[in-house]
Symmetry: C2
Subunit: 503 residues, 2 copies
């Protein structure tokens, strides 16, 4: 028994989303709160029936909450799933099993297999606080993970999650390192590769900080929130799928780490490699192509950085038993015309349909990526990947396959168009010198993407294109006049998102 | 202007204490929330009138909050102090000025003076999130701060806070590294040193994770929440004081760092030295004695660790212009009989009054510390510190001075006694082999200390003392029967807080 095990508090839902970190709210005069104290970032272990969660304690100082109640955040609620009127008991949590491994790494020791496993197990189970996760990410930053540690971390991330088994034979997959706005090649690549008879069970993410993830874009055209059984049925029938990975829980530790990695933005090749490859291995892939955009406002900013990251991806991927190649691409500017879920979906469909307005850069890149992936596969005649991909797209077989996949996932829907649109105009003439991917993505987000699926922007200009004074640089799309106004206000104070040089 | 500058939300008080980190709560359908997104740990900059604060965004998913309202945590409320019915506007915060210095340190560069200053300025102004603070602490952990960086960090901590000026002449001060339960020598040392005509303007902290801080203990006997003007008046009249440092804002950056240092518990000599010495320099001290308890459950666990830390304290202190000495003491077991604010105050008064029940270990240690501090002072005949201190205590001059200080701070009160008390009994005979300071402190906290000032425990046994079966090991004091029960339940499952060897 424990000092608080007999202190029962009635559980109420706080209705507060603290992202993934579980938080519990107690009245300052409640007995648990009094004895655990008002200390910095106190953690408590809450038990409800057979469920338990470790949460951060926040103290309620007014009378919204009774002294015999505990209010729980959405993440804590999801972890314990309390019945109506349930009671919770509390314990002071013992240090996480991985505390020793974390401390050793912080103080300069190397991570071994057991340490990585303990850390990823506690990470996936949400037993580490945000500040402990931040300490781990910091201790691994820069060059502080060597090849052996990267491999150990990749294995540990796979070990603590679900692993898919496709029953033998090659399983193809692709991944793009670092989001380039509009670079939505995945649905096209999957359609081409599956049309050629390969297996390509693709799981994709929703946007976290970008205006659209592949799952958001695909969802405009077909259901993506499939569970594992439904996903398997689609792949068995059509060879490929494009579903949201969130219901599948591949590499759940990585999903948790992201919550501190994104805001800290500490690049670490070792953690990036473990993150990418653990998901591919867990998804059952055997042949993997990595699309790596390189450019000043992309994730990988120089050729030297690209080479070093590619070497580590290939070394670790090979050690994990993958056939893997890295394909460097132009990361200086967006791809396609649309940025935002529906607008990117329209580009994807235009390419698949061979429509005259289809963006050539998106088509060419999708073909190049599909070709490089096909070149990895065992049955492709040497160097014939691109030709095969091009023929499959031109013949309409990729379009047919894509429609069949959408039907298998639950039915195809034609993307709609946003009711509010306004252009952003050039205030002088010139030639496009550079495009700020990050700020352009920000405009699309302020316009409502991805929450408002029709929102975003369209931009057909590319580096080197001439621009006349008063010409439209890009057009903002929004589902409400308010969101249109926010996006335009931001665009107005950042006139150099497309920077022009004198003509 | 900014994309959100025209989005005004009405400010309401959330009544939630998130410790020091400012948090704002917005409805998920509110325009600011929609465009900033549900991203991991989003930070927003809130402006109310001329005040502003950077806060973490939490999302409210039910209808407690209107879409045109923002609820703010206590720390955010204190930062902007909104008038009744005030409105707030929001911006996406630019990266903190110190982001570059933090990133460089994480990636292995040395911290220079400018980098330290930027980091401490942003830390003190609460512009860094908890995960950024955790990254900083991790990047400095172990031996990752060299002598030059320690000095730069100490200077930066002083520079961003208030500095007291006592107008020339020696100013004495003391500090104890790492809390040993009951080790409440400060009020006795201040009384002795001030009675001898020295200036000793002591600021102390409240408990953060311990059952009592010096400020909590002193507050049982006299007011301690004095502002700088009131503190100055006391010191001008009596030569010394014992006040709470929280109203004085010496080294405010350190106060913020503590919120992640405590839960992470990463020892770093460099940060400890900067923390301790920045407060002494800011308080205007010229002659400083550091009491350093050494023992297996104390902060400093070995003689080797003590020597290394002492060398760094002396090197940095000397470079900061202090006359400084380190005094290692026995850190294996508590000092005095009482643990908890009032119970420690009773020990202090018993020593000052020369009462027969006064704990000899507390008296001897207070005299030793006072003696060593006096030996540092310019006017003490060589080696006469201890004799002077002993004579001052015995003669009653220290008691008179202490009462005068209490009167000057607002009036003396005799500490009361807790209404609920129960002994914890030995379940076998033996001799006390070791005492677990941390768990003993935990019992006192579960009993209600320091929030309930009369709560805590009394323990007169020391290592080597014989114990009979059924004898009282220690007595728990509480202000409510419930808290008494919590403490006893914990004591019951930890029978080895005093571990016994066969007699």
């Amino acid at each position: 028994m424990n000092a608080h095990a007999h202190t029962r508090l009635r559980v109420v839902r706080a209705g507060i989303d603290t992202y993934q970190q579980p938080v519990v709210y107690m009245h300052r005069d409640c007995p648990v709160c009094r004895s655990e104290g008002f200390a910095a970032l106190t953690r408590v272990q809450m038990h409800v029936g057979t469920q338990q969660v470790i949460a951060t304690l926040n103290v309620v100082t007014d009378d919204h909450l009774a002294v015999d109640e505990v209010a729980v955040s959405e993440a804590a609620w999801a972890a314990v799933m309390p019945a109506e009127g349930a009671f919770a008991t509390f314990r002071h949590p013992e240090p996480a099993a991985s505390a020793g491994a974390l401390r050793a790494k912080v103080f300069g020791a190397r991570l071994d297999d057991a340490g990585c496993l303990a850390l990823m197990r506690d990470t996936a189970a949400n037993r580490l606080s945000d500040i402990e996760l931040a300490a781990f990410v910091t201790a691994c930053a820069g060059e502080r993970l060597d090849h052996g540690e990267t491999l150990a971390l990749t294995r540990a991330m796979v070990a603590v999650g679900q692993t898919l088994d496709w029953g033998g034979g090659p399983v193809l997959d692709k991944h793009c390192v670092g989001g380039l706005p509009g670079n939505r090649t995945t649905p096209i690549v999957v359609a081409i590769v599956a049309a050629l008879g390969h297996r390509i069970p693709k799981t994709s993410s929703r946007a976290i900080t970008s205006p659209a993830g592949t799952a958001d874009t695909m969802e405009v055209m077909a259901p993506v929130a499939l569970d594992l059984t439904a996903m398997r049925r689609v792949v068995e029938r059509e060879g490929g799928c494009v579903v949201w990975g969130g219901n599948v829980r591949l590499s759940p530790a990585d999903d948790v780490l992201i919550r501190v990695e994104r805001p800290l933005d500490f690049d670490s090749d070792g953690q990036l490699v473990a993150s990418v490859l653990s998901k591919k291995v867990a998804a059952g892939a055997s042949h993997v192509l990595i699309d790596m955009p390189v450019g000043p406002t992309a994730k990988v900013r120089s050729d030297a950085a690209a080479q070093s990251l590619a070497a580590r991806l290939i070394a670790t991927g090979t050690a994990m038993g993958l056939t893997i190649a890295v394909f460097p691409t132009d990361g200086r500017q967006p791809v396609g015309v649309g940025i935002g879920p529906a607008l990117e979906a329209r580009d994807v469909l235009a390419v698949l349909r061979g429509a005259p307005e289809a963006p050539t850069d998106l088509r060419d890149r999708a073909l190049a990526v599909a070709g490089a992936l096909l070149d990895l596969a065992p049955d492709t005649p040497p160097g014939q990947g691109l030709a095969l991909a091009t023929e499959t797209l031109k013949s309409g077989r990729a379009l047919s396959k894509f429609m069949a996949i959408c039907e298998a996932q639950g039915g195809f829907t034609e993307p709609g168009e946003a009711p509010f649109q306004a252009p952003v105009l050039a205030t002088r003439a010139g030639r496009v010198q550079a495009i700020d991917n990050r700020r352009l993505a920000k405009v699309a987000k302020l316009a409502g993407a991805p929450g408002a699926p029709l929102a975003g922007l369209t931009c057909a200009l590319r580096i080197g294109d001439p621009v006349a004074n008063g010409q439209s640089l890009y057009t903002v799309h929004a589902q409400s006049p308010g969101e249109l106004a926010y996006a335009l206000a931001y665009a107005q104070i950042h006139p150099d998102i497309l920077s022009l040089e004198a003509p």
